[in-house]
């Protein structure tokens, strides 16, 4: 539309083209293009969310039941049976729930992102748009469940009469971090999954494995006491360690002090994975329409 409006007389003699397609041209203006397609991004995310919550009554219920049951089991297993201590004076269920918020978001984002390309195969082979939109919008969909569980946390905290400290104001920052922490590996797995169609069998295992090496059911201070500060630093290579410690610091206040070196290491790994994920995705996305 704008192209014809801005046409000047000289255009009539030497046409000025808006778009050049040649090998490798997709690389140019990548981010600008992504911005141009922001409306599609929002609409796709809305579609996924509304389908998810429309399809089943369970849809919304599932987002509630799953974290609650998991929290109860973990509180019993780690808090009661194993007798691990909580962070400071914080009730064990709240400490578990503060970690489950980011963990469930992370794991559901990973698995839904990895399926997103295959699920939208017909879009990809019939319409152009920056492919990054698809996995990114599926991460946003998982975020809807996250918001529902956040409401649960508020309920849980008022049940235990556990008031948040001022730290809670920093929560949005950590939410941003978990978003990026999920997006990086999510993009990587998405691209791998398009290329190697049997990769999806590996994903549930990766997520299950991740749960064991991430302090969800127990406090990371338990790990620090056992491993010592030096080894704990390496434990933080797992980016979710930093994210979860951040969440607990924000939600539990001074009960759960933040281990800064470990936190920054997690941040660094998060950034690294994000860069790697985006660059691998960009490298492979050109071929998606040909192989999907």
């Amino acid at each position: 539309m704008t192209a014809s409006a801005s046409a000047t007389p000289s255009d009539l003699h030497a046409p000025v083209f808006d778009l050049t397609l040649e090998p490798g041209s997709a690389e140019k203006d990548y981010w600008l293009d992504l911005w141009r397609y922001r409306e599609l991004f929002i609409i796709l995310a809305m579609r996924d969310i509304s389908v998810r919550y429309k399809q089943t009554v369970i849809g919304a219920g599932w987002a509630l039941i799953q974290p609650v049951l998991t929290m109860i089991v973990m509180t019993i297993v780690f808090g009661k049976v194993a007798g691990l201590h909580s962070d400071g004076a914080a009730p064990y269920p709240i400490m578990v729930f503060a970690a489950m918020l980011p963990w469930m978001f992370f794991s559901s984002a990973l698995s839904s992102a990895s399926q997103s390309m295959i699920g939208n195969a017909n879009l990809i082979s019939k319409v152009y748009f920056p492919r990054l939109i698809i996995p990114a919008s599926s991460v946003v969909t998982s975020f809807a469940d996250f918001v529902v569980s956040l409401l649960l946390l508020i309920g849980l905290m008022s049940w235990y009469r556990f008031p948040p400290s001022w730290n809670i104001l920093a929560l949005p920052v950590f939410i941003g971090i978990v978003f990026l922490a999920a997006l990086g590996p999510g993009l990587f797995i998405t691209a791998l999954n398009v290329k190697y169609r049997d990769f999806r069998y590996v994903i549930p295992f990766l997520i299950q494995f991740g749960l064991y090496v991430t302090p969800v059911g127990f406090s990371s201070s338990v790990i620090r006491e056992k491993l010592g500060a030096k080894l704990f630093f390496f434990y933080s290579i797992n980016p979710m360690v930093g994210v979860i410690d951040g969440f607990r610091w924000a939600i539990l206040g001074k009960n759960s002090p933040l281990d800064l070196p470990g936190f920054f290491l997690s941040l660094l790994v998060t950034a690294l994975l994000l860069g790697l994920g985006i660059s691998y995705f960009r490298k492979t996305e050109k071929g998606f329409a040909d192989i999907i």
Partner: protein, 412 residues
């Protein structure tokens, strides 16, 4: 470059990597990649491993160049496999060219499918916005045209019903209505008009005509030669990965029809599997069969068949439309022996195609898994008119086919 050029295509080419043995599907299994890597390290590396990865570049488009001026309505014609879809995909940015350059001036919208992204669980209203956004409309634009779209599709009463409850006609109408209200400067349309009932098709064609009359540029792929003739001002014929541009549509169509006459006759090139194809030898000379008599197609296979194979045989009419597809199926007891010279005889007892010229495509398949080799236009045959049961000779104007049938009158 002439003035008013809105699309300029120079030496465009696109290759696809075709792998011969290892891949059964287009994608790769990680398991295979890892297994190959490991085998590569092991001392037991066999020759089989090496042959697994044999790939070949296939040029879907080789050297395509043309220019389209503003306001032109260009029909793109070509036989199946001539690269029409690939060309449209490159122009709509779905896939990147492997060589050459395309330059485009103005906003492009492409319609390669009706209802892309429609979700069955969502309502008509939601899907309208979704589909509009997918086709490149802004939210404000869709809002502005919403009423118009809905009345064009005639679905006012069902706007808040999930489209999974729609009849297929309603579904298609809504999908096309959204697409029809795109207002791009350049519209790329694949064969999507062949949907809906005749009434709706007429409406769609009218809409296309409107788009053209408003000075927009349209690129249009279709097998319906009549529609092309009515709608297009110029034409591009794709043939063997190359393009020929014509100022007017009529010579394009003529050239396209003529290209069928050049269909290769048996024996078939140096194909690894099929040695020759013969049709109707026992009747009125090779390639001629009387309407209503038996149609025999004899396919001679070479000895080289490595594994269980199947044959797909499809019959097309002169405008390239698929009329019938037959395939050998081991479940039906048709087994083609391995490593033997075989003559495969296909028989249709009552040849029900109306008089005219027909084309036979042969594909060698691994049954139910993949297509190994395709031979488009492997042979041609002509059906000659003949009176059946004392009636008039059946002609093409009565329809493409005339299957054996009967009438019963029951008096109530």
């Amino acid at each position: 470059m002439s003035s008013g050029t809105v699309i300029s295509v120079e030496n465009l080419g696109k290759t696809y990597r075709v792998s011969h043995q290892a891949e059964r599907q287009r994608y790769v299994a990680l398991r295979d990649v890892l297994a190959d890597r490991i085998k590569g390290f092991s001392p037991f590396r066999s020759r089989r491993t090496a042959s697994r990865s044999s790939t070949e570049d296939f040029w879907a488009l080789k050297d395509v160049s043309f220019e389209v001026r503003q306001g032109e309505v260009v029909g793109i014609i070509g036989r199946n496999g001539a690269g029409k879809s690939t060309l449209l995909k490159i122009l709509s940015r779905i896939t990147e060219p492997s060589k050459g350059r395309v330059r485009i001036k103005g906003r492009v919208a492409s319609l390669l499918e009706v209802g892309t992204g429609f979700h069955p669980e969502l309502t008509g209203r939601e899907n309208t916005f979704l589909n509009g956004a997918i086709l490149g409309m802004s939210r404000a634009e869709i809002k502005r045209k919403f009423d118009e779209i809905v009345s064009f599709a005639e679905v006012e009463r069902f706007l808040d019903t999930a489209v999974k409850h729609y009849s297929s006609g309603m579904y298609v109408r809504l999908a096309f209505a959204v697409a029809a209200h795109l207002e791009p400067e350049i519209l790329i349309v694949d064969e999507v008009l062949a949907v809906g009932d005749a009434d709706f098709q007429r409406k769609c064609l009218g809409k296309m005509q409107d788009v053209a009359n408003k000075g927009r540029t349209v690129l249009f792929v279709s097998h319906q030669l009549g529609v092309l003739k009515a709608l297009c001002s110029s034409g591009i014929l794709l043939k063997g990965g190359k393009s020929h541009y014509y100022q007017r549509i009529e010579p394009t169509i003529q050239e396209y029809l003529d290209s069928f006459q050049e269909a290769p006759k048996a024996p078939v090139r140096n194909n690894p599997f099929i040695e020759s194809i013969e049709i109707g030898l026992n009747r009125k000379g090779p390639g001629h069969v009387f309407f209503g008599e038996a149609l025999d197609i004899v396919i001679a296979l070479r000895k080289l068949t490595p594994a269980q194979i199947g044959i797909n045989l499809s019959i097309r009419n002169q405008s390239g439309r698929l009329l019938a597809l037959f395939s050998t199926n081991p479940h039906d007891g048709v087994r083609i022996p391995v490593q033997r010279e075989v003559r495969l005889i296909f028989t249709m007892e009552f040849c029900c195609f109306s008089p005219g010229k027909y084309f036979v495509d042969i594909a060698v398949t691994e049954p139910a898994v993949r297509i190994i080799e395709e031979l488009p236009n492997a042979a041609t045959f002509e059906i000659l008119p003949k009176c059946i049961g004392g009636h008039w000779p059946y002609e093409a104007r009565f329809g493409d086919v005339f299957p054996q049938h009967s009438w019963h009158v029951a008096v109530c």
